[in-house]
Symmetry: C2
Subunit: 287 residues, 2 copies
């Protein structure tokens, strides 16, 4: 199999601006499982080496989204020893391994969402930023018992996707521009966001603007919660997480002399701004 | 003259999304001066009554932009007594009165800009939000001795107009989405914004997002300055300023069941977040 057989997957992964880290991590493992079944290797050792190489490529492709690297690492760690079985059986085992990892991540996400829904309770107004599948799952559990303030999250505006999904679930939504965060946070009972990575000190890497929401929430005395599958929590410092910078064309500014447009995609919300870290393992509150 | 002769002016005034309050206030007085010269009144008293009625309409058209009402009030207060002169002379006097008010506002704006430029000094990086003619004048005075971080201010994105004007003045600009405020404020030495209204307690009504910038600036220890012509300062409480709400179509969200889009156009930055109030009268720092 040529080394570039995952190139279209890498391009899609790097360009994806709407799916969160958990969804993308599971999608990567699904692609790895498909490669295990279909790659043109002629020996078990050859297939093993290819799968590891591909997993490493995928794990590095979105450096701010630690869930992808963590799930790719778990994929590598859980691959069977290539010396113990013949090629066709290896393909099947590796595919099954991928499916198990995906199911486990799905379960962790839905358990984290349940924990968040339990903590928030019915009848509340929740403000969120960006689009997190864990937050969406939590809000869907709360259903008609929740009202949600959704920020546009421009660029690229994935808040519009969230508004549409909540609308389809029959949930009441107030949709605002990012500029209006400080105006609307006081109407919320709680701020809830997902995470792309959670550092060992509790700092949360998430879509740019998350820290602004946390500052506005603190200013208004609105509790700020983060929910995530524990896969995103790592033994790393916040400064170890490479912050992705994307194409500045997304800002819609024509080229101008002396003007540099920036599209830093993630920011870091430090632990003093966070009131609860919610994962499938439970709720951790700030000491 | 029919009462609706200023209707196109009112429509343009209500729909203007790029000019700041000072520029719009002067533009209104210019239109009043033109009406004084051209209105179809047949008596001095008739003209006087028309001009007052029109000024009151313009003064109420953009309730968050107190400069407009203040300048319209000054226009009314400074009109000559209609019983003291015949119609043609009254037309000339009223036009001259308009020109004087406009020059006086321009002078106040440029003096406020000079005060701000003196306070900031050369070699600094300034972060701003929205488009203020006073801030633009200050930055133009600093010229190549300043670097400016400009937020998009979406919607409608008047930061793009500011970036273009600064570019034309040869000033170095970093252009960011509103989401990136917390990421970039730490690169600034000072945050500087204009104002649409300044309440008697020092609260500043300005484009939505200004309070977010102030919160981010405080969090990073970056001083937050407001500059404005004193015309905008009023004997009113912040709650007396009606906050304009504009068409939510500007948010670019298609209609969705259960979803309400909001476009609250201004927010209030309370005095504890402000380090200096700069007008043509000088610099007031927080006690």
């Amino acid at each position: 199999m040529p080394a570039n057989s995952l190139d279209p997957v890498l391009v899609q992964l790097r360009g994806d601006r709407t799916r969160g880290a958990s969804e993308l991590a599971r999608w990567c493992v699904q692609k790895l499982g498909e490669q295990a079944a279909e790659a043109g290797a002629t020996s078990t050792r050859g297939l093993y080496a290819e799968l590891i190489g591909l997993a490493e490529q995928l794990g590095r492709a979105r450096p701010s989204m630690r869930a992808i690297r963590s799930l790719a690492d778990r994929w590598i760690a859980g691959l069977p020893d290539p010396d113990t079985m013949e090629l066709e059986r290896y393909r099947r085992e590796a595919s099954t391994h991928a499916e198990r990892l995906i199911r486990s991540s799905e379960l962790a996400t839905s358990q984290a969402a349940e924990q968040a829904a339990d903590l928030i309770g019915p009848g509340r107004t929740v403000i969120t930023h960006s689009l997190s599948s864990t937050v969406l799952a939590c809000l869907t559990l709360l259903g008609r018992d929740v009202r949600v303030i959704v920020t546009a999250s421009d660029p690229p505006g994935e808040g519009r996707v969230l508004a549409k999904r909540l609308s389809e679930a029959g949930i009441e939504v107030d949709f605002i521009s990012d500029q209006q965060m400080a105006l609307f946070v006081s109407r919320a009972d709680v701020a809830l966001v997902g995470a792309d990575a959670v550092a060992s000190d509790g700092s949360v890497v998430n879509k740019a603007g998350t820290r602004l929401l946390a500052l506005a929430a603190r200013d208004e005395g609105v509790p700020f919660y983060v929910c995530f599958e524990s896969l995103k929590r790592g033994p790393f410092a916040p400064t170890d997480v490479e912050i992705e910078i994307h194409d500045s064309d997304e800002l819609g500014l024509p080229p101008l002399h002396h003007v540099t447009a920036h599209n830093v995609y993630f920011d870091v919300t430090t632990p003093e701004l966070i009131d609860a870290w919610i994962s499938e393992d439970g709720v951790l509150t700030r000491p």
